[in-house]
């Protein structure tokens, strides 16, 4: 693969990615053939119940899977080149430089003993061939850009001297420090005060749009998805249940699980709420039923659902993993 072919292709292409935990009681499949693309400059929202595998997908892409977990199949391509089988050092160079990451809690994301400016400069210098002074100038520019007031003095402050919202701005500047092509934001506002959540999302969206940076935005907040994302992927039990343009998935969900989730947004305009409760709960990893993982909770299940696992199938502008699509029945 040469880079030239891929200037127009997706930034990120995940195909059939599987991840398992090898435990004493057996092998748990936490991600099962997850596939999706993220186009250049696109914001892909990722939603799904707690434990659906959203964070694991992010970790797998960036190559930070922790011990008992391991990739068991599929591949991850960044700008067309495989990155899931790179050496640790090659992968390190991609982290931060090509793919930036934002975690939920800005308080614990920053090293408490280092000045924020030094942490940004460190990131810049880890990826770019610049002097300490240049890195610091860049840190200052980034802090200014993410809207830290009086950045010339705040650059030498420690993380605890910032409020939660300001700290998450610092974290965003860290993720952007080396101008990555893609940012994975894992619930970037969940730990924040409600009053600043919208500001942070707006900021993130603006900065990425200005740079043409793609975003994988993991969240529980359908309102944020509706306002921010271009497309949305709905995950369930380590699989992608449905993926498509936000408007289509919200207005016309093809997968019964997605339909259940969208039940939370009656008017679809303002006052959009969080994910709706669907009766029953997601199966544990050691008890995922054969066939369709959603079958025990699905109001529309039929024979085939228990026997065969549905793959993602084209349904209008979206793709959904549901046999109903195959039968031409709307969910």
């Amino acid at each position: 693969m040469t880079k030239n072919n891929n200037a127009s292709g997706p930034v990120l292409s995940v195909s059939d990615l599987s991840l398992e935990f090898v435990t004493r009681r057996g092998v748990l499949k936490a991600l099962d053939r997850v596939s999706f693309d993220i186009a250049r400059g696109e914001v892909l929202g990722v939603v799904g119940e707690s434990g659906a595998g959203k964070s694991l997908t992010g970790s797998a892409i960036i190559g930070l899977i922790e011990k008992p977990g391991r990739l068991s199949g599929g591949e991850v391509r960044l700008n067309g080149e495989r990155i899931d089988n790179l050496s640790p050092e090659a992968m390190r160079k991609i982290r931060g430089r090509k793919i930036g990451m934002i975690f939920q809690d800005p308080l614990t994301s920053l090293n408490p003993l280092f000045r924020v400016g030094d942490q940004i400069a460190e990131t810049v210098m880890a990826h770019m061939n610049v002097s300490r002074a240049e890195a610091r100038a860049r840190a200052l520019a980034l802090l200014t850009e993410v809207g830290i007031p009086a950045p010339e003095s705040r650059i030498d402050a420690y993380p605890h001297e910032f409020s939660g919202g300001m700290r998450q701005r610092v974290v965003i500047s860290l993720a952007l420090a080396a101008e990555p092509d893609l940012i994975i934001a894992d619930e970037p506002t969940t730990a924040l005060d409600v009053s600043v959540q919208a500001q942070i999302i707006t900021l993130l969206k603006r900065l990425c749009r200005e740079r043409g940076t793609s975003v994988m935005l993991i969240t529980h907040d359908m309102g944020v998805i509706a306002e921010t994302a271009d497309r949305v992927a709905v995950m369930y039990a380590g699989r992608v249940a449905e993926i498509g343009p936000v408007a289509d998935v919200i207005r016309n969900p093809q997968h019964p699980y997605a339909a259940g989730l969208m039940g939370a947004i009656p008017a679809l305009k303002k006052n959009v709420g969080r994910l709706a409760q669907i009766s029953g709960s997601m199966p544990r990893l050691n008890a995922i039923p054969p066939g369709c993982a959603f079958r025990p909770r699905c109001p529309k299940a039929f024979d085939r659902c228990a026997a065969e696992r549905p793959d993602l199938m084209q349904a209008g502008k979206s793709r959904a993993a549901c046999w109903l699509v195959d039968q031409g029945v709307p969910a």
Partner: protein, 328 residues
């Protein structure tokens, strides 16, 4: 920060006063100072006179105040046994103990941190298994056994190093040092190893445990996600955070090196304060014992204060006075 420093200082002073009171009480309860000084044959008249001259007939708060006043000046009277001023005895013995303790502390800290970091980074390697097993020995074997073992190997069997004394020393003003002669340096090796070994293993295990804990923190994961090289994550981000709590405990441990020196000095016939104290106890030489107690207390207080200040330097959260309660 200023208020905190003042508070630490006040606490330190309180400790010193308490220890001074204990030292002072020894004069009243351990033996009879007058009898000690004049011997058995003196008349009742003589004793009475001497007691008055020494101020022993004054009410005890007055006597304690006088004792404190003298202690501040470093005066603890005259040794019952040697008939010399205690301050002179201490001054003579101090360099031997200080050289031994400081070198042991440096040895223990340097290698404790080094091995601890190594064992934390290479958690499952052969090297860290050896280190961890060795550290169990250090934690469980009593100091005197380690000393005797070292003497047996390096003095008796191999004949490489002397088994007792300081060797030749060089005078620098009132200070005497063994560092400037070869025999002096050789003589230091075994006592330093003996005294430092326990502290080394303790610091090492502490550093390892703390560092493993820190490596699980979110900010380490975030540093990885930023593409910071693993070495920098371990040696800059993790180590610095590891050292914050380690400094406290290790610092206090190092203070106790002085106290532990008693055993080591006895094993190696090291002419330091510990040996002086052991002799003094044998002969109920109260002024020397009192002076030694005060010395040890002063060392602990100074170490404590230093540790507190270091803590401030290492942890910016304390410096700005925020979240002291949260700590770690």
């Amino acid at each position: 920060m200023f208020a905190y420093a003042i508070r630490s200082l006040a606490q330190g002073l309180l400790v010193l006063v308490a220890v001074a009171f204990i030292s002072f009480s020894m004069f009243r309860f351990v033996g009879d100072p007058v009898a000690n000084m004049v011997g058995q044959e003196a008349s009742v008249q003589d004793r009475q006179e001497l007691a008055e001259r020494l101020g022993l007939t004054d009410p005890w708060p007055v006597q304690f105040a006088r004792f404190m006043g003298n202690a501040v000046k470093g005066e603890f009277g005259v040794s019952y046994r040697q008939g010399r001023k205690v301050s002179d005895l201490i001054k003579e013995r101090l360099p031997a103990t200080v050289e031994l303790a400081v070198l042991s502390a440096a040895f223990a800290t340097l290698f404790g941190v080094l091995f601890g970091v190594y064992a934390a980074i290479n958690r499952t390697g052969l090297g860290s298994n050896i280190i961890m097993t060795g550290s169990l020995v250090g934690v469980s074997l009593p100091t005197f056994l380690i000393g005797i073992g070292l003497i047996f190997i390096f003095s008796v069997e191999l004949r490489w190093l002397p088994s007792f004394g300081r060797g030749e020393t060089v005078k620098l003003g009132w200070w005497t040092t063994g560092l400037l002669t070869e025999s002096g340096r050789k003589s230091l090796i075994l006592p330093v190893l003996t005294l430092g070994f326990f502290q080394l293993t303790l610091i090492m295990r502490l550093v390892r445990a703390e560092m493993l804990e820190v490596m699980r923190a979110d900010f380490i994961r975030f540093a990885r996600a930023r593409g910071i090289p693993e070495r920098a994550i371990q040696l800059r981000h993790a180590l610095r955070n590891t050292l914050v709590p380690v400094v406290t405990i290790a610092g206090l441990q190092l203070g106790s090196v002085i106290a532990f020196a008693i055993v080591t000095e006895t094993v190696f016939q090291w002419p330091g304060l510990g040996a002086l104290f052991v002799n003094a106890v044998q002969f109920a030489d109260v002024p020397v014992m009192a002076a030694y107690l005060m010395f040890v207390a002063a060392v602990f207080v100074v170490v404590n204060l230093t540790v507190d200040l270091l803590y401030f330097l290492l942890d910016p959260r304390l410096r700005s006075g925020a979240k002291i309660a949260k700590g770690h």
